[in-house]
């Protein structure tokens, strides 16, 4: 399905919106005096499938067109969107009360629409990002047009987090999954596939006075250096994925602002189906063998930080300070662990990474150098990304470099990279059984008491430090840069950095 809009169509749509504006109240007009923000994307969304995970750029565009039941504010606190309140009832079911909101075609958002999203997303072949989670919802009830009741087999504390994710926006019942009809602050008014997207403000958006901009012109600048050049030249107002090597230059430019957050992280995965990495002692040896500061320097130009534990950020309420340096750099300890495991002279192995992304390759090279110091001779395998994904899924490696973010700042979001009961995937260690971790995730997601949950996740991290299902390597800084004239846009904290597109509803120019 294509959504090409020719110039005439674009003008007609713009005219219709402008015409519509003439009839709305003066306060609404005032709120939209923001002009058009020019946003440089790193890539064109490969798909507009509302429920699929299609990368950051697609996520940002979805956050402009669509809204889910919930979201996060700029500080990372969960807030209502299409749902104005949400609570768990005595039977453990989640109840979402909907606010008065309209789809882009003017029809109201109803409980039936929401229920349809859940039942469609949980179908086995839906390929929805949250399909695995949604199947845990046994029944969706709609007692009235504004109430949705979700019943799960066990009470689930983390359920609201699914509905706050940008890969679980709500679309109108019966619409195709890549529909442009959402309930978000902007409407798609035109697109040139692979090149650019034009969005105009939705005058019927349910938040009074928002969005503040008239529209957003999102253009793809795949080359990171050109993205920076375009910002410096004044061709664009805002860029995503600021390359680390350019961050200092942007900070020094009086016309520009840089907003960075440590959120995404690099880590090592193992093939646990064969020796030597089926042995936790060997994995722990690897964890202690690598000096992480060198990765931060080589791959991220000092923009990030060492990560010697599970990727739970220091700012998170679930952070465990006692594990801050659990996998500290200690070559003597690493050698002792290798000897204990029966490899006093080390061994040869292959390390999978990719030459397509510099940060993956540099990280692999630093790891290779440090592993050689304890006798592990890792031969690098650096195919391009798609081959790397396939090899990772098939387990054609001994250890591998990987980089990603978690779903949100709750440790439950880490199950994707840690839980060995999930099917084999390039984002997790291959064939690694983690019964205690699987069980801890299950307990954590069902627990409503904050202190108990904290204790569960502390135990989970303790187990992970011992059994080493992955090795944390480095946090990497994720940056947005903008002209000084841009205000209201914020890079969201920690793992939520890729949700930042949601703050574009508050963005203003001038």
């Amino acid at each position: 399905m294509t959504h090409d809009l020719n110039r005439r169509g674009f003008l007609a749509a713009s005219g219709a919106v402008a015409g519509g504006l003439a009839f709305v109240s003066p306060s609404a007009l005032f709120a939209q005096e923001g002009g058009t923000l020019r946003f440089a994307l790193s890539t064109y969304p490969p798909s507009f499938d509302a429920w699929a995970s299609s990368g950051t750029a697609a996520g940002t565009i979805k956050l402009l067109m669509h809204r889910g039941l919930l979201s996060y504010d700029a500080e990372g606190k969960m807030r209502g969107e299409l749902a104005e309140s949400w609570e768990v009832d005595d039977s453990g079911a989640w109840i979402f009360k909907l606010r008065d909101a309209k789809w882009h075609d003017g029809s109201p958002v109803t409980a039936e629409d929401i229920a349809w999203n859940v039942t469609e997303g949980q179908k086995a072949d839906s390929a929805a990002y949250f399909q695995g989670q949604l199947v845990q919802i046994l029944t969706v009830e709609t007692p009235d047009a504004k109430t949705v009741r979700m019943i799960t087999a066990e009470p689930l504390a983390i359920l609201p987090g699914w509905f706050a994710h940008y890969n679980m926006p709500m679309i109108k019942k019966g619409e195709p999954r890549d529909t442009m009809i959402g309930a978000g602050p902007f409407k798609l008014s035109g697109q040139d596939r692979g090149v650019s997207l034009s969005l105009v403000a939705n005058p019927d958006y349910y938040k009074e006075g928002l969005p503040k901009l008239d529209g957003i012109e999102a253009t793809v600048y795949a080359d990171e250096n050109l993205r920076v050049a375009a910002l410096e030249a004044g061709d664009v107002d805002l860029i995503e994925y600021v390359p680390w090597q350019s961050m200092t230059r942007i900070e020094e430019n009086p016309e520009l602002k840089l907003d960075t957050r440590d959120g995404p992280f690099m880590y090592l995965t193992f093939n646990a189906t064969r020796a030597p990495f089926d042995n936790p002692l060997v994995r722990r040896a690897v964890a202690h063998a690598i000096k992480r500061e060198d990765i931060v320097a080589a791959a991220f130009f000092e923009r990030g930080g060492p990560l010697a534990h599970l990727p739970i950020a220091e700012q998170s309420e679930f952070y465990n300070p006692e594990f801050a340096n659990a996998w500290d750099y200690d070559p003597e300890k690493a050698k002792a662990l290798l000897t204990e495991a029966g490899y006093p002279d080390g061994f040869d192995c292959t390390m999978l990474s990719t030459a397509q992304y510099g940060m993956h390759q540099s990280t692999a090279e630093v790891c290779q150098a440090y592993l050689s110091m304890i006798g592990i001779n890792a031969q690098l395998d650096l195919p391009e990304w798609s081959s790397r994904v396939q090899k990772g899924n098939e387990g054609s490696y001994d250890l591998a470099v990987m980089g990603t973010t978690a779903n949100n700042n709750d440790p439950a979001g880490l199950s994707n990279i840690l839980d060995g009961s999930l099917p084999n995937s390039f984002v997790r260690s291959f064939g690694m059984e983690t019964p205690e971790i699987t069980e801890a995730f299950a307990r954590g997601q069902a627990e409503f008491d904050y202190e108990t949950r904290k204790e569960i996740y502390r135990g989970l991290e303790e187990t992970a430090i011992e059994t080493v299902p992955i090795v944390g390597l480095a946090w990497r800084s994720q940056g947005y840069a903008m002209r000084n004239s841009v205000s209201g846009f914020a890079n969201m904290p920690g793992q939520l950095t890729f949700y930042s597109g949601i703050t574009l509803e508050d963005a203003m120019l001038g």
């Binding site: 490969p46 072949d125 080359d223 250096n225 050109l226 050049a229 410096e232 798609s386 396939q390 995937s425």
Partner: protein
């Protein structure tokens, strides 16, 4: 001549078939599964059941010969299929992207020929002089500097420092003709620079060679005016190899402007091809490669025909 063109066209079609078949087979040989990739965006774990379902939908579970025959059947009816990624018809996308790449190449060729031929001719006439040395030096420098270096320097100077040109991008001509031309100038100028070096060197060598021909000496002996000798006897004959080189270079550029398109964010065919390969979007890759090979082969044919028109001694009829 018509028989010759018909014969060459048949050979060209055979070549295109060979290219399409080779690309189809190679794509299926290299690792990377389009379904798996599509469902693994943003570093997520793709569900094996969903991957299997998508493979079935994409028709990738059929035997490879079946896929090949289906694809060839589509090609013969002018249907290159739809993109695996979003179902966009491949023909439509090529029709949109190809003119943008051709625009850069043709503008670059015009600039390169317009400057390169007079420059090369001047250097040949004043061979071994100071000007010739300077021109040769410039040509060597331009030829040995990679396009991405030229592109990056040009952006640094004109967009980031002087701020008189946009850093890159694309606006359709119908929306803003001036903006369109402004955005076209830097990529076309960058491509033109290396092309200019080739044309200048070729023109110089060719003119130098023709200047030493007997008929030029005869023309001089007859007392013909110098300008007339140059225009009618030297340059015209010297242009045959230049034109051949230009044709070949332009053919190569159709699929080879990828770096320029990347550096200047120009949404042409080459960048489209790279993105398609990355995503293992088989219908897109085969469609684009086929288009490029058809253009390349027929551009060569065109050069032969023009050469014959320039020099009636070149016989088009096979003996």
């Amino acid at each position: 001549m018509l028989r010759y063109i018909a014969y060459r066209s048949v050979v060209a079609l055979f070549l295109v078939w060979v290219v399409v078949t080779a690309v189809f087979l190679l794509l299926h040989l290299i690792p990377g599964d389009p379904a798996e990739l599509l469902l693994s965006q943003g570093s997520i774990a793709a569900d094996p059941a969903a991957v299997a379902a998508l493979r079935e939908k994409m028709g990738l579970n059929a035997p490879i010969w079946q896929q090949y025959i289906d694809h060839l059947g589509g090609v013969l009816t002018g249907d290159l299929g739809v993109s695996f990624r979003d179902g966009a018809p491949v023909v439509e996308q090529i029709a949109k992207r190809l003119p943008r790449t051709l625009e850069v190449i043709v503008t670059a060729a015009l600039i390169a020929t317009g400057i390169g031929v007079p420059l090369g001719t001047y250097a040949a006439i004043h061979a071994n002089g100071r000007a010739d040395g300077a021109i040769s030096f410039f040509a060597s420098a331009a030829l040995s500097t990679p396009v991405f270096v030229v592109g990056t320097v040009v952006i640094l100077i004109f967009a980031q420092k002087l701020k008189i040109m946009p850093a890159g991008g694309f606006i359709p001509f119908s929306e803003d003709p001036v903006g369109h031309i402004r955005l076209l100038l830097l990529p076309a100028g960058t491509v033109a620079l290396s092309l200019l070096a080739v044309i200048t060197r070729m023109s110089r060598a060719s003119v130098l060679e023709v200047l030493q021909r007997d008929y030029v000496r005869t023309a001089r002996a007859k007392g013909l005016p110098r300008k007339r000798i140059l225009r009618r006897h030297v340059v015209r004959n010297a242009m045959i190899p230049v034109l051949t080189i230009l044709g070949l270079e332009m053919g190569t550029l159709i699929g080879g402007t990828v770096l320029v398109e990347f550096v200047f964010n120009w949404p042409g065919l080459s960048g489209y091809l790279v993105a398609a390969v990355d995503a293992r979007d088989y219908p897109e890759v085969v469609g684009i490669v086929m288009t490029i090979s058809i253009l390349f082969v027929f551009l060569n044919l065109l050069v032969d025909v023009i050469n014959a028109a320039l020099d009636p001694r070149i016989s088009l009829v096979r003996r």
